[in-house]
C-alpha cells in the first residue's frame, strides 16, 4: 500500500525529507517507469552528486558524472534517455528527490 506523498504542482516532492526508496518507486510510477537495478544506480549517483556539489545537474554534467562514477558505457545520454525518458535530468532528479530545477537554463 502506497503512502500518500505530498507533491507540488509539477509532481515533485513538496518536502524533500519525504524521500525514501518507496517514495522513489511511486514517483517513478508517475513517470511510467518501473525501477530496475540500472535505474537505482543512477538514482544513487544523482543523490551523491547533489550531496557533493549541492546542485541538481542538467544533462551534460549528469552524463559526465555518471561516466566518472559508473564508466563510459553508462555515461552516455542515450543510455540515460532509455532509463529516464523523455528528459533524464529532470525525470531522474524528480525520482531521486532532488530539488526541483529552477528552470535557469
Amino acid at each position: 500500500m502506497d503512502t500518500v506523498l505530498t507533491l507540488d504542482s509539477d509532481g515533485h516532492l513538496a518536502h524533500l525529507s519525504d524521500w525514501s526508496e518507496q517514495a522513489a518507486e511511486q514517483l517513478a510510477a508517475s513517470e511510467n517507469i518501473l525501477l530496475s537495478d540500472a535505474h537505482w544506480e543512477i538514482i544513487y549517483v544523482l543523490k551523491e552528486f547533489h550531496q557533493r556539489f549541492a546542485l541538481s545537474p542538467p544533462m551534460r554534467p549528469l552524463v559526465r558524472y555518471v561516466a566518472q562514477q559508473l564508466g563510459k558505457e553508462k555515461g552516455r545520454s542515450i543510455y540515460l534517455m532509455q532509463l529516464f525518458p523523455p528528459s533524464p535530468a529532470r525525470v531522474a532528479s524528480k525520482i531521486a528527490g532532488l530539488p526541483r530545477p529552477e528552470n535557469c537554463l
Binding site: 504542482s9 509539477d10 529552477e102 528552470n103 535557469c104 537554463l105
Partner: protein, 189 residues
C-alpha cells in the same frame, strides 16, 4: 575585441577597479580604451558622461546589459538605465537587458516611489515599450526574491504575479546567448 565594463560599486571593489585601470593603461579622461571600470557616480561624471563616451564609438554597437543592482538601494540600475538611453539615442542597439541577482527587483510592479522621485521599474518598462527591447528577468533569481509573473505565481500557489510590463522571465541561457551574440556586455552591479 574591446570590452567596456562599467561598474558602480562600493569601496570594497576599489582594488579591482584600480587594478584594471592601471593594467589597461586607462585614466578617467581616456575614452578610447578597452575596458573602463568606474567606482561611483562622480568618477562616472568625470568620464565626461556615458553619452559622450558612446558617441566616441565609430560603429554602431549591439549592447547587452547585465543589471545586478536593485532599484533605489544602489546607483547601478539608474546608471544602466541612463546608459541604455544614451546608447539608443546615440544610434546603437540593445540586444538584451538581463536582470539578475538583486537586479530582478527592477522588474517588480510592486515598487512604489514617492511622487517627487522617479520610479526605476516604471522607467525600465517605459524604455522597453518605447524601443521594443528584449528584457529577460532570471527566473531563479526572481522567484527567490518574490518577483513572479502570473504563471509562476499560480504554479507556486502565490496570490498574484507582480512582474512589470515588458519583461519576460526566462533562464540563464538567455544571458549566455547574449554574451555570445552581443558586441559588448555591460555589467551594472
Amino acid at each position: 575585441m574591446a570590452n567596456y565594463c562599467i561598474k558602480s560599486d562600493t569601496m570594497t571593489q576599489r582594488g579591482a577597479h584600480e587594478f584594471c585601470l592601471q593594467n589597461e593603461g586607462l585614466n578617467a579622461n581616456s575614452v578610447s580604451c578597452q575596458t573602463i571600470f568606474y567606482q561611483n557616480l562622480l568618477e562616472y561624471l568625470q568620464l565626461a558622461s556615458v553619452k559622450l563616451l558612446i558617441k566616441q564609438i565609430a560603429n554602431p554597437m549591439n549592447f547587452a546589459l547585465l543589471i545586478l543592482g536593485p532599484p533605489y538601494s544602489t546607483q547601478a540600475s539608474a546608471s544602466a538605465l541612463r546608459f541604455a538611453r544614451a546608447a539608443l539615442n546615440g544610434g546603437h542597439s540593445i540586444y538584451r537587458l538581463f536582470f539578475y541577482h538583486d537586479g530582478v527587483h527592477n522588474a517588480s510592479a510592486m515598487v512604489t516611489t514617492p511622487q517627487d522621485e522617479s520610479s526605476l521599474p516604471q522607467q525600465w518598462s517605459e524604455l522597453i515599450e518605447q524601443h521594443q527591447l528584449d528584457s529577460v528577468v532570471c527566473i531563479a533569481a526572481a522567484t527567490r526574491r518574490g518577483v513572479l509573473n502570473e504563471q509562476e505565481a499560480k504554479r507556486f500557489g502565490k496570490t498574484g504575479g507582480n512582474l512589470s510590463p515588458g519583461h519576460e522571465v526566462s533562464g540563464l541561457g538567455q544571458l549566455v546567448d547574449a554574451s555570445l551574440n552581443a558586441d559588448r556586455v555591460m555589467t551594472f552591479g
